[in-house]
Symmetry: C2
Subunit: 201 residues, 2 copies
């Protein structure tokens, strides 16, 4: 990026998030340091700390963009005329596609210290819970009289399962599952879960 | 460790694995370096490379011990007179207990480059697949006529789900699940999965 005078604090803030997102995308979150960021933006290292007191706050802003992208992909899934397990698999496929194409930004969602009181964390958490509501809606359709708390637990357990499998792939531990295709394992989990909820209602 | 002359290569090898296990247990796998290991054992840094060409091979040996401990905990679960979902939850509880008490050695199972051709990796993989066979046995009891390949996929998907939830806890991302107790989410997953397999048979 050419050297330029940032016209406002807001402009500098956006430039820092842009640069952080680029570094994370290209080299992973470990590559993101105040020194690297300052060099990329032609600013003093100290200046970065004037805007974000700690790198984790900056990562949180990049994560907000990542969550927004995932939201846009999930909300883009066609919900019409599908059985619940098919719709859930369509969500899983959309998520797998995003993770595969954006492994570094996805991995950044799960690193760094989170300050539970920070605005950025609260916003990211609210967005994530909104995403879960799509899974919950599909599960409620399977079993409308099931307790909402159990629907929530089901939705989060299924997502965590997908997360677990994808993180094994990301860490090259995929072979532990002894499966050629992670999608098949996810499908087995979803179809059995939905069949179980139907059977119990 | 007091300075001593290692009497044989085998003795040095064992001392290195002992020291690596201690470092990983106390400070996590990131703390394990050839320099740190050499200092702990009062040997030259170069000597460490004579025994393990790379740190990942040493981590693999520590992982073999960790897998042996998990195996001993899983094989110690009382299998008598339980329904399949109860037995699976007992396995999950045993695993959760191990992970909670041994977070650093557990996390080391999923880091480092794995050489798929190495003896240590092959041995660890075989041991892990043996562990999965306990889950598969419990699932086969639910639905004896189900294809073995589907039983395997079910077992690995359920384990990956538990792995996913525990890794969220380990990374402080537990709050995403919005659940006080990770065990409840695991229980929901297991009971629905088993009910689904029963319904489909």
């Amino acid at each position: 990026m050419p050297k330029k005078i940032m016209e406002s604090r807001e402009e500098l803030r956006t430039a820092m998030i842009d640069a952080a997102e680029r570094i994370i995308t290209e080299q992973g979150v470990e590559a993101l340091t105040a020194r690297r960021l300052a060099a990329d933006l032609n600013i003093a290292v100290g200046t970065t700390y004037n805007v974000f007191r700690q790198m984790d706050d900056l990562i949180s802003e990049v994560n907000a963009r990542t969550i927004a992208k995932i939201t846009s992909i999930i909300t883009g899934v066609d919900k019409s005329a599908r059985k619940s397990d098919e719709l859930l698999m369509a969500y899983a496929d959309a998520y797998i596609g995003f993770v595969t194409a954006n492994e570094n930004t996805w991995a950044a969602l799960f690193v760094g210290e989170v300050d539970p009181e920070s605005e950025s964390h609260k916003r990211n958490l609210a967005q994530t819970l909104h995403l879960f509501s799509y899974i919950e809606e599909a599960l409620s359709a399977v079993s409308p009289e099931t307790d909402q708390s159990e629907i929530q637990a089901s939705a989060r357990a299924l997502w965590a399962a997908v997360h677990g499998m994808l993180s094994l792939v990301a860490h090259g531990r995929h072979s532990i599952l002894g499966l050629g295709n992670i999608r098949d394992a996810i499908n087995v989990l979803i179809t059995n879960h939905v069949a179980g909820m139907k059977a119990k209602r």
